[in-house]
Amino acid sequence: MSSAATSATATEFVRRKPPPAVRRKRLIATVADHTILVAAGLLFLLPFLFITLTALMSNDQALSARLWPHPFEWSNFVDVFTKAPFMTWIGNTLEYSILATVGVVVSSIPVAYAFAKLRWRGRDAVFIVVLVALMLPPQVTVVPLYVMWAKFHPFGFNFIGTLWPVIIPNWFGDAFTIFLLRQFFLTIPDEYLDAARVDGCGEVKILFTVVIRLAKPAIAAVALFSFLYTFNDFFLPLLYTGENANHWVLSIGLSEFRSLHQVQWNLTMAATLLVMAPVIILFFLAQKAFVEGVTLTGVKG
């Protein structure tokens, strides 16, 4: 109580009105700040606006110098589905995203736990290996991996041309996910785990009952990142399915969309918007998980 009272008088003392000159200067600074912010914000939004406007134009209009659609061609969004195998691409993308995300989360949790909460010789050295694997470009290992999948034919099944070479590695832990989960597990107080141990819990049970429950937000963030990564992934699906259009994911389909439909910028932009939409909707639904996850990578890294 008393401390609150003293701080209140202190703030009163500080918050006396500054002289008019200072106030004017501050007002100008605030206005200038917000002007710059609004200008920058518009600059960031403008590309979205142009993409949307073009997506609503007729083909002739998109090829003219007009910026505003007249009339609005809402049917473009339907045409995208009829003129390209968009549904197939969506199906393939979902197959990749879901199978990979579930695999990444399930396989990375125990590994992250072993790095964060179990003590064993060489732990820190092995963790550095994980970080190094995280740093290296995927191009470094991609050639032998391609050769491996090309030469591997169990029961005559051909992996090249399918999405499996991109999906399966995700079932064996992912360096980024392990890193992120470990960072979060480290913030769980050891006392919780020790309490469970005293109660006779084994490490497996601790992981399932205590850690996973406490780490729900982090697991959600990690799953979200994995989903986004796979949804956006282009290089690896292109390598393995580039020749087989039946297994294209959305990102490949979109990149080839314009050569499927000569110069139809309006349809291409409608397709572009359709590919952006799920990610943006997901962002607004799970904004908190996003921001938490992103800051977790940076601040505690």
Binding site: D33, A40, F48, I51, W120, P137, E203, T268, V294
Partner: protein, 336 residues
């Protein structure tokens, strides 16, 4: 607890210590087994999808291999061609260095500026943060397509607006001199992730540091220079490393932009083969060249040699950045 049993005299002391030692050893083995069990997904994955390919890549780089006939040992020939003869490698290396040297500093500067502006804002912070972050969310292929359209020379909105202002806009992705700057623009549009990280770091700077700096008479600039920058320097380092690593594997945007721009110019149906690096190899980055050798021409041995060079370079770059960082990065814990 064991004292009671010794006092009871039923078990000789020597046998007990052996028993206890055995039990302890058993527990240790069980713990080791547990760690192994928990680590097993990563151990298996790392061996098959990282360790093995790394070794194999080194082996293949000394071979001629086209996937059809078995690998043929050629010694250092691939490396000789890579360093001495391949006319495109130097272009690709130059382009990659250009991209990293221009894009990374600009991204860090831009993201930091936006983050600081956001901390100074009084109104609509959440809205602005979302607006700046949105483009970073857009899938790279979609964002690139959008950018190539917006910057298309004749009917693209940017050049249309420029022509209304009486300015003849450049050819952007069609012009060898403007293709890379256009990609930089695309990269700056997607700066949101870095900005969010910086924003969190700037907001995390302890208030009392600013207060004591203010008491010492530090103005806005000095507070920025001597309080904000040193405190968030680990995060700046993180952003630089991330930027350089991403620069070394820059592929999707270059591939898509070149493909779409080339298709627009030639109107031909399948242009992938000629489009890599369009226009005039100006967007031919190292990963793009690696892709061309490995997966368009199927020169697996030569592509492996390129991969080994990339491995060496990315390893050295990370090392150099981390070692040099000791000079200017301030870690809160270490100073105390």
């Amino acid at each position: 607890m064991s004292q009671t049993s010794v006092a009871g005299g039923t078990i000789p002391a020597a046998a007990l210590t052996v028993d206890r030692r055995r039990a302890r050893r058993k527990a240790a083995w069980r713990r080791r087994g547990l760690v192994l069990l928990f680590m097993s997904p990563w151990l298996v994955g790392f061996t098959i999808f990282f360790g093995y390919p790394l070794v194999m890549s080194a082996y293949l780089s000394f071979n001629h291999y086209d996937l059809l006939s078995p690998p043929r040992w050629v010694g250092w020939a691939n490396y000789h061609y890579l360093f001495r003869e391949d006319p495109q490698v130097w272009t690709a290396v130059k382009n990659t260095i250009w991209l990293i040297c221009v894009l990374v500093p600009l991204q860090v500067l831009f993201a930091f500026g936006l983050a600081v502006m956001l901390t100074r804002a009084r109104m609509g912070v959440g809205v602005f943060r979302t607006v700046f972050y949105l483009p970073a969310l857009a899938p790279p292929v979609a964002a690139t397509l959008g950018f190539v359209y917006i910057l298309n020379p004749v009917t693209g909105p940017v050049n249309v607006i420029l022509s209304h202002l009486g300015i003849q806009g450049p050819l952007w992705f069609q012009d060898p001199h403007w293709a890379k700057p256009s990609l930089v623009g695309l990269g700056l549009w997607g700066v949101g992730t870095v900005m969010v990280i910086f924003l969190a770091a700037v907001l995390d700077v302890p208030k009392q540091l600013y207060e004591s700096a203010e008491l010492d008479g530090a103005g806005g600039w000095n507070r920025m220079r001597y309080v904000t920058l040193p405190t968030i320097s680990p995060v700046l380092l993180f952003a630089v490393i991330l930027g350089v690593i991403q620069g070394l594997q820059y592929f999707t945007q270059a591939y898509v932009a070149a493909g779409v721009a080339a298709g627009q110019a030639s109107q031909a149906a399948d242009v992938t083969a000629v489009s890599l690096g369009y226009p005039l190899d100006s967007t031919l980055f190292y990963p793009v060249l690696l892709y061309q050798h490995g997966f368009v021409d199927f020169q697996m041995g030569y592509a492996s040699a390129m991969a080994m060079l990339l491995l060496g370079v990315s390893f050295c770059v990370t090392l150099v950045i981390v070692v040099n960082s000791r000079k200017w990065v301030h870690y809160g814990g270490a100073a105390r």
